[in-house]
Symmetry: C2
Subunit: 259 residues, 2 copies
């Protein structure tokens, strides 16, 4: 798998920051002036179209670290675009097993799993203090009726989510532990880069256990793989701080399946 398979969003942009205390910001929320425009739902929309979707987003919502943005079973009403911060989405089974289905960062869309069942299937939890744009589905729907481009763009976003999940399936189905972790790191690196951050030096917002849950591994295995990569000089790890020293080496580590 290429990193691109996990992180479809291609265009770089500067991160945006600005917000009020309280759950719902009164600040006007405009896609047209948002720094994440080129990474987010409006990506690719022509000038005048962007203006017309400005009222697609009514509100923003702040979610503190550890808090739920939505829970499995919640009635579906809106999708969410991450404005700042970091989330994980988790699927839980009755018997207690759970799987982190993904990590979301600025510009990425969450909640599309809820459209079909009309209720959320996943739990979305903030890994750090975060802020999202709330996009009421009914609003998106009706705007989509008038705007060919928005409709198409939304289809693309959903399609890319499907493709991203194919990538994770392939990772879970065919890769061994170190390959999975290498793919994961390269994917994160690429997504940070697309947001104007360093691709070689970043901070993990999630624990080893959460990484393991996402990659189908136990936390000890994740930890050992990190150590191994460090011993081999591919990366340097200091708890959550990662520095990638040898991208090509990591790529090789990702592709070396004996299986």
């Amino acid at each position: 798998m290429t990193p691109a398979a996990l992180a479809p969003i291609p265009i770089a942009a500067a991160p945006a920051r600005e917000s009020e205390p309280g759950k719902v910001a009164k600040v006007p929320t405009r896609c047209s002036t948002c720094g994440l425009r080129e990474l987010c739902l409006p990506c690719g929309l022509a000038g005048q179209a962007v203006d017309r979707i400005d009222d697609m987003v009514y509100t923003r919502r702040r979610v503190k670290r550890g808090e739920y943005l939505y829970r499995a079973g919640d009635k579906f009403g809106s999708i969410y675009a991450v404005r700042s911060g970091f989330f994980k989405t988790v699927q839980t089974l009755e018997d207690g097993r759970e799987q982190v289905t993904g990590f979301q960062m600025a510009g990425e869309i969450m909640g599309m799993d809820g459209i079909g069942p009309d209720a959320h299937v996943l739990n979305a939890i903030a890994l750090e203090d975060s802020e999202v744009c709330v996009i009421p589905y009914s609003r998106l729907e009706s705007l989509g009726g008038e705007m060919h481009e928005l409709r198409r763009q939304f289809h693309k976003v959903m399609s890319r989510e499907i493709v991203r999940e194919h990538g994770v399936m392939l990772l879970l189905g065919t890769m061994r532990a170190e390959e999975r972790l290498a793919a994961f790191l390269l994917n994160l690196s690429q997504r940070f880069a697309a947001r104007g951050y360093s691709p070689s030096e970043f901070n993990l917002r999630m624990t080893r256990e959460e990484i393991g849950s996402h990659l189908g591994l136990k936390l000890e295995t994740v930890s050992r793989a990190f150590s191994r990569f460090q011993d081999e000089g591919l990366i340097s790890v200091q708890l959550k701080d990662i520095r990638i020293l040898d991208v090509d080496g990591l790529r090789r580590a990702m592709g070396q399946g004996t299986r």
Copy 2:
């Protein structure tokens, strides 16, 4: 995971059959008279709406066993609804690794992964002589502009695909071999039932290797799990012919993760 997580399509209908030789059938292709209507894209559309989407499907296409419906890299142009037969979708890596991302049967939609990248990401291969309805994306798109319900329905179909893949991810990430196979069998059973076939007796169209690829297992492991289930009296296996003898037992086998 409940079987529903893998097979979102809920409503029962009789299977449909009727076709010409040749790649493209001249027979008028109407959603409104199709026996699969309630399982397929038009599901839930009100009477008059169904009539209006009749010209959404221009053509049908026959695909012989072993043939490709589309290949990874093909320019994206249409999505496909399975009219009869059975498909697998496969993701391939440069290094030769591959993963069966799903099996598709009558009424299920394929090809949505192509919308975002504007090219197909997967390979779709017929597991038996099959027929699909070709739905040009541009047509679906423009019809969606006029018809609120169709737009919404299409979103649901894509959303359910996302949810289905979450289910597979959970399976691959957290279940052991026998649990995976049990979940797979229960899922197939439910989907056959939804199409008016026996839920307890059916024919696998795929090989052990293809099942293994889908479940992240080797074919020998799949074979052993089948044998074990048979020894335990949960199913009876005769190569591709499966009979489920103890559904609750299978459910238990699916949920009994010690992990």
